[in-house]
């Protein structure tokens, strides 16, 4: 197809035949594969219909070989890209002998090695020289699955049938022809079918783009040289990953944390990880974690594998390509029937974030003594990321969106304060929040406030990112609010002397009476369009290191900028300040205070007990009520 590049010239070329690789061609092909995944990502993001894909970027694009092993991914959502090979393998084995050029497969079934029902996988086999050689794959979070509430993520579903349409591996396109009956069946099961049809097109466009580019690459270099260099690329990641893990101290490390609730009535469910570093391998074993939840707060194995592996991926150099060569160094054990690996027909729609986020955090808790310079303090676990829905006054048609501008923050790490609007460990900061004006333009809501919440983060030598306070008023009658997060009662942990963050929470406020209904991290509530508003105060991230080691000048700026109070500066950070709006540090007084405070020993991880957050009790007024996992 290329007039200029002559594939034969490349095939006839040199050393790889003798068992070696030309290091330069290696770099070129590595670059090209990454560039293909980038192009797929841009095409999907720019052409999607729902804000969760187009503005929040809740999707991932990756390439696999025929095995299937991951060979390239765009730096998207780690909870997707670290275990997506499992569902591709499931698709491949379901259709063994019936995979043809021009086919496209769908799957969202959590028990077919998908993450959770909200994540729809579209996969196109790529045939080169009439042989199945690659898979071009995207996984995108669908705003709706036709569940019993208008959300694809709901903690209150009691089994998979309440979570909406379940799609085991299925052929949507057969040798280039769309199966219209299947297409209609899928859309008939969804709210917002017009928007979700657009999203499906965007995912199909993305994998088609990936397929075209892989074909072009093979036309230029020839199929077998490309495959040979893919091996070299996997080896390269393998080698670099091995080196980094070898540098970590061998041993067994344990961590524990608690999921706020099972989505129904059980609270503070333990998640335990034993991390074993042995040579160039790491095993994360979730044995000992609590039994599977009644509601949707269960992990699937695809989530367990990714959640265990993701922290390891950020301990090693971010420059190492995250392909099979890298991922294969990490094993995850998650006993069936536990919250970390539920069995059919348990609901799992929250899996990627609850308990997925905590499953990442407990690895950090475990590894804090092994690799203190590499761990992250606790981060928000998808708390206060509500899905709002309702009907438009003028047409009665349903509207809905998942809102990310109230997301909590990232925990601190060595040399870095946390980022705000971190959303979830599942995305590691890769989820975007929608502009206020876009939200108000697209949906019948008004955002009354979206600002930093003072004193919401954990303190330390490095402080967690700040949480946010957001107030939303419905403009088109009543609206419902579905939340599915975690970490309000069991807040993000502080590390190495850092303190935990607040945990935060949400309430529905009657603006006439002032009465407030506080809602646990997950729950479904109706907001009266006449008199009520929704307010979310999300948590900051946990702190890292002893607060007494934070430079006094930084503490001074934190006070000046309203991140912390003067009292906290004095009591926690030991910093005395003058009284101006733009204060100066009182050096002698600070020295003295810090010496006195230094005698207090600080724990390596905090908290070490469940239900440690005090935010709700501190903030509830007389007459307010607290609802655990309410149903509409």
């Amino acid at each position: 197809m290329s007039q200029v590049h002559d594939p034969d010239s490349r095939v006839e070329d040199h050393s790889w035949r003798e068992g070696g690789y030309d290091p330069i061609t290696f770099s070129v092909i590595l670059n090209r594969l990454n560039s293909i995944a980038t192009e797929m990502t841009l095409a999907l993001e720019r052409s999607a219909w729902t804000s969760i894909l187009a503005l929040s970027r809740d999707f991932s694009c990756a390439l696999y070989d025929a095995v299937p092993r991951q060979i390239a991914m765009f730096d998207a959502l780690p909870i997707h890209t670290t275990s997506m090979q499992l569902v591709v393998a499931e698709i491949a084995s379901s259709f063994e002998g019936d995979i043809n050029d021009g086919d496209v497969f769908l799957c969202n079934d959590p028990y077919s090695m998908n993450t959770h029902v909200g994540d729809l996988v579209t996969a196109a086999p790529v045939f080169v020289d009439e042989q199945l050689s690659f898979w071009s794959v995207t996984k995108g979070h669908q705003m709706d699955t036709g569940a019993f509430v208008p959300s694809s993520v709901t903690a209150s579903a009691l089994n998979i049938w309440q979570e909406g349409i379940q799609i085991p591996p299925l052929k949507l396109v057969e040798r280039g022809a769309i199966r219209r009956d299947v297409w209609r069946l899928y859309l008939a099961n969804l709210r917002y079918a017009e928007l979700l049809e657009g999203d499906l097109w965007a995912q199909l466009g993305s994998i088609e783009r990936g397929r075209q580019r892989l074909l072009e690459l093979c036309a230029e270099y020839g199929r077998s040289p490309v495959l040979r260099y893919v091996e070299a690329i996997l080896d390269y990641s393998d080698r670099r990953t091995a080196q980094e893990i070898l540098a970590m101290p061998d041993g067994e490390y344990v961590g524990e944390g608690w999921v706020d609730s099972d989505g129904v009535d059980t609270e503070h469910i333990p998640v335990r990880a034993k991390v074993t570093v042995a040579g160039d391998r790491i095993t994360i074993d979730y044995t000992g974690s609590g039994p599977q939840a009644k509601g949707g707060a269960n992990a699937t194995y695809a989530v367990a594998l990714a959640a265990g592996a993701v922290p390891i991926l950020y301990y090693i150099s971010p420059d190492i390509p995250h392909n099979h060569g890298c991922i294969k160094h990490i094993d995850v054990v998650a006993p069936e029937g536990t919250i970390c690996n539920a069995t059919h027909p348990a609901a799992t729609s929250c899996a990627t974030v609850v308990p997925g986020d905590l499953m990442q955090d407990v690895v950090n808790r475990a590894m804090v003594s092994a690799v203190p310079d590499l761990v992250c303090a606790g981060s928000t676990r998808c708390g206060n990321i509500p899905q709002f829905a309702g009907e438009r006054d003028e047409t009665g048609r349903p509207w809905g969106f998942m809102m990310f501008c109230n997301a909590g923050a990232q925990g601190a790490s060595r040399d870095n304060d946390g980022w705000p609007l971190w959303s979830s460990q599942a995305g590691l900061g890769g989820l975007k929040s929608q502009p206020i004006e876009q939200l108000e333009l697209l949906y019948p809501v008004q955002i009354e406030q979206a600002e930093i919440e003072s004193e919401s983060m954990g303190y330390g030598q490095w402080i967690g990112g700040p949480g946010t306070r957001v107030k939303v008023t419905p403009l088109s009658g009543d609206m419902v609010c579905i939340t599915f997060g975690d970490g309000c009662a069991n807040p993000p942990h502080g590390a190495l002397g850092g303190t935990p963050a607040i945990g935060g929470g949400q309430w529905v406020e009657n603006e006439k009476t002032g009465h407030r209904r506080f809602v646990s991290a997950s729950g479904n509530v109706r907001i009266d369009g006449e008199v009520e508003a929704w307010v979310g105060v999300s948590t900051g991230g946990g702190g890292y290191g002893n607060p007494l080691d934070r430079p006094a000048e930084k503490v001074c700026a934190d006070v000046r900028d309203g991140l912390i109070s003067r009292a906290t500066a004095a009591e926690v950070f030991g910093v005395a300040l003058s009284n101006e709006v733009n204060p100066v540090v009182d050096e002698p007084a600070t020295r003295k205070r810090r010496e006195a405070l230094r005698t207090v020993e600080r724990p390596i991880v905090e908290p070490t007990v469940p239900n440690a957050a005090t935010w709700v009790t501190k903030n509830m007024r007389a007459g307010d009520e607290y609802l655990l996992n309410p149903l509409i």
Binding site: D6, R10, S15, G20, D22, P23, I24, T25, F26, V28, N31, S35, T38, E39, L42, E45, R46, S47, A48, W49, S51, A54, D75, P78, G198, W201, A202, G205, S206, E208, R209, A232, Y236, R239, S317, H322, C376, S413, R414, W419, S423, L428, G430, L431, K432, S433, P435, Q438, E440, L442, Q446, E448, Q449, A450, E451, I452, T468, D561, L563, V581
Partner: protein, 708 residues
């Protein structure tokens, strides 16, 4: 003789390009004087005037066009040494700048720091007021709160203020009134409003554009006013024009209304330069045979890539400076750390990498002999024989072959088990691969196939790599302008005056209601015309270009689609918009939905004041029918080893001469390397074109090594 002068201030050099109406071109480089940039302009003008047989006064008196590009604004932002800013925003939304879009780049680098903001939080003041999406006032402006803020700002030595309220582009009243109060109370503190800088939806981008404008305004205000005055005193009659990031230039007054427009504007002149050569490369700047061009400008530290399709540069509204969005419509220029000074290294997985770290100008490549010890791309080009040690910068700088060789050996050759020459060839191939990726990012990743494009190369290092790069991308033709060394400074004097106007108007193409739209378009066009008329452009030199930001109904992002219909639009003209949209959508996203109408949001009118084309340069004289050919030992891509290679000096060639590769052709400001079956031609105008041969069997050098 009358002149046009382009002056482009860069970090190292201030470039001058002077074109006479007789077609003569003079290119001059003066050392930049960062403390007082006008000093370098003054010295440079003297040098230039002298060479043209003028004094500065008479040169400027006969200058009809003076275009200036400056990095002062960009440097202020990069170095973060601008004034202390205050920001007024809607109460409840003080953290728009800090929150950004909630996106943290570099997923797996948890230590990556937040980029911060340009207004500290204690100086961001929320004002009770609120307008909604339809422009209705939900809460009136609290004027007392604005007065208090004015006092607060003046008490705390704020030097400039940005005002950015939610939805102000739908109803600017609150911003206007707040600015009025601020100016009355603090007459010495400049105020910039978001509705005038960027009247578009998306509060982060709009606030950021406004804040960056306020941040650079005091400094560039003083600088540009001073420059204007100094040039006036020295005899310049028409006020100077300033280069903008939208690829056109504008008067100082207009720049100071929207200072963000000059951030990162240097490379934005590349498309203008490229279009100037449209005829020379066998097409035209506009119309059916409008050219398809990719420009590369490769200097010491970076490579800038622009793409021009059908005569139009790729524009973007997602440009960042110092990780802050500028929001306005800009020439998209992809920049990567790949220049002559880029350093080659082996990563801990044993892969050869080049850049983004650069040896810069100091110490520079090892071959400069100024203390550099890490091998660079320039060192590789020296070892490969492409850069002749005694011919660099026209012989002004002697290069040290031995130092280049030793560094490559130590840092690349030995670790990879490669001979020095193979290692140097590897460095060049890797940097070429990086450059090819940058070009793919601008083309293939946007659905644009670069084959069939012409590659125009500028910058001192461009010619060394351009032909090989073209081959890698399947591009058949490379163009090396005579002004390659001062590509963007040249672009500035051939670019047009350009103003972008935008109006928000919602329309679905299935509707027939276009009267209100026509009124809005007429307003925009009238405004654009008046502005250009006031600037002295005759009607026949004014061009209005129309485009619309469109999407399928329900989609979130838009594509900007140009259309050619004449106003007032008829319903049938909407079919053209639909057609163009479907095509563009297919191209970019690999699918189209013809069954759907198209939803239009922002309508754009770009007013262009055409600057007359310069005369063709007189034919190059001199040269020889049988030019002197030196032979040098240079690396052959085909043979994978050093071979005797012909080296030419451009002055020795006659116009029309053709050189068959392999060869090295030295042009005063760059060196062009061509391979075995490539053919280079010298045009009558001094420009070079290269027909790039397709690769044949065995073109990849045998590196003969396994990864370390």
């Amino acid at each position: 003789v009358t002149y046009r002068i382009g002056v482009d201030i860069g970090g190292t050099f201030t470039d001058f390009t002077v074109v006479g109406d007789d077609g003569q071109i003079l290119v001059w480089k003066e050392d930049s004087t960062p403390r007082d940039p006008v000093a370098a302009i003054a010295t440079g003008l003297e040098a230039v005037a002298d060479q043209l047989g003028h004094d500065v006064q008479s040169l400027l008196a006969s200058t009809e066009l003076f275009v200036h590009g400056t990095t002062i604004a960009t440097n202020t932002v990069i170095q973060r040494n601008g004034p202390r800013l205050g920001l007024l925003c809607t109460e409840g939304f003080r953290d728009v700048l800090y929150f950004r879009d909630g996106f943290k780049p570099h997923r797996f680098d948890i230590h990556y720091p937040h980029p911060g903001t340009f207004v500290e939080r204690w100086l961001r003041v929320g004002i009770p007021e609120r307008v909604n999406r339809t422009g209705d006032v939900l809460r009136p402006l609290d004027e007392d709160a604005v007065r208090n803020a004015a006092a607060y700002f003046s008490d705390h030595d704020v030097e400039a203020v940005a005002v950015a309220f939610l939805w102000s582009m739908m109803r600017p009243d609150h911003e206007l009134r707040a600015a009025e109060i601020l100016r009355t109370l603090n007459p010495d503190i400049p105020v910039v409003c978001s509705h005038s800088v960027l009247p578009e939806i998306r509060e982060w981008q709009r606030t950021s554009a406004t804040v960056l404008s306020a941040y650079v305004l005091p400094r560039i205000g003083r600088y540009l006013r001073n420059l204007e005055q100094e040039l006036g005193v020295r005899g310049l009659k028409r006020p100077p024009l300033i280069m903008q990031i939208n690829g056109g230039c504008a008067r100082v007054d207009e720049i100071l209304e929207r200072p963000v427009a000059i951030l990162a504007s240097g490379p934005a002149a590349a498309p203008a330069a490229a279009l100037h050569y449209a005829q020379a490369i066998g097409g035209s700047a506009v119309g059916a045979d409008a050219v398809n061009v990719i420009t590369i400008d490769m200097g010491g530290t970076s490579l800038d890539v622009c793409v021009i399709r059908d005569g139009r540069p790729t524009m973007s509204r997602d440009i960042f400076v110092e990780e802050q969005p500028i929001g306005i419509q800009a020439v998209e220029c992809h920049s990567i750390g790949a220049g002559g000074g880029s350093i080659a290294w082996i990563d801990d997985g044993g892969a050869l990498r080049v850049g983004p770290r650069s040896a810069g100008a100091d110490p520079g490549p090892c071959a400069y002999g100024r203390g550099g010890s890490e091998p660079t791309v320039t060192d590789a080009n020296v070892v490969l024989g492409y850069l002749q040690p005694d011919a660099f910068l026209g012989g002004r700088r002697q290069l040290r072959f031995d130092l280049a060789e030793a560094a490559i050996d130590e840092h690349v050759g030995r670790p990879l088990g490669l001979e020095t020459v193979a290692a140097a060839a590897g460095i060049v191939r890797v940097v070429n691969a990086n450059m090819a990726s940058a070009i793919r990012a601008m083309s293939v990743e946007r659905g644009i196939d670069p084959r069939g494009f012409t590659l125009i190369c500028g910058g001192g290092a461009g010619g060394l790599h351009a032909v090989q790069l073209a081959r890698e991308l399947g591009i058949g033709s490379v163009f090396v302008p005579a002004e390659a060394g001062a590509f963007c400074a040249f672009g500035m004097i051939v670019t047009d005056v350009r103003h972008d106007h935008v109006a928000a108007h919602h329309l679905v193409t299935s509707s027939a209601e276009i009267e209100l739209l026509n009124r809005r378009l007429a307003d925009l066009e009238r405004h654009a015309l008046r502005q250009l008329t006031e600037e002295g452009f005759a009607d026949e030199d004014v061009v209005l270009e129309l485009s619309v930001d469109a999407r399928y109904p329900g989609q979130v992002h838009e594509i900007t689609v140009p259309f050619s219909a004449q106003t007032p639009l008829h319903v049938s003209d909407l079919r053209e918009i639909e057609r163009r949209f479907h095509e563009e959508h297919q191209l970019q996203f690999a699918y189209r939905r013809d069954e759907l109408p198209v939803e239009c949001l922002h309508w754009r009118v770009t007013g262009i004041g055409r600057i007359a084309q310069t005369k063709e340069r007189p034919s190059v004289e001199g040269g020889h029918d049988a030019p002197t050919i030196r032979t040098v030992s240079a690396y052959s891509l085909e043979d994978g080893e050093l071979t005797e290679t012909a080296a030419y000096r451009i002055d020795d060639l006659r116009p029309g001469a053709a050189v068959r590769g392999p060869a090295i052709v030295q042009v005063p400001t760059t060196t062009v390397v061509i391979g075995r079956r490539d053919v280079l031609r010298l045009g009558g105008d001094g420009n070079l074109t290269v027909d790039v041969a397709a690769p044949v069997s065995g073109t990849i050098p045998t590196a003969g090594a396994v990864l370390a």
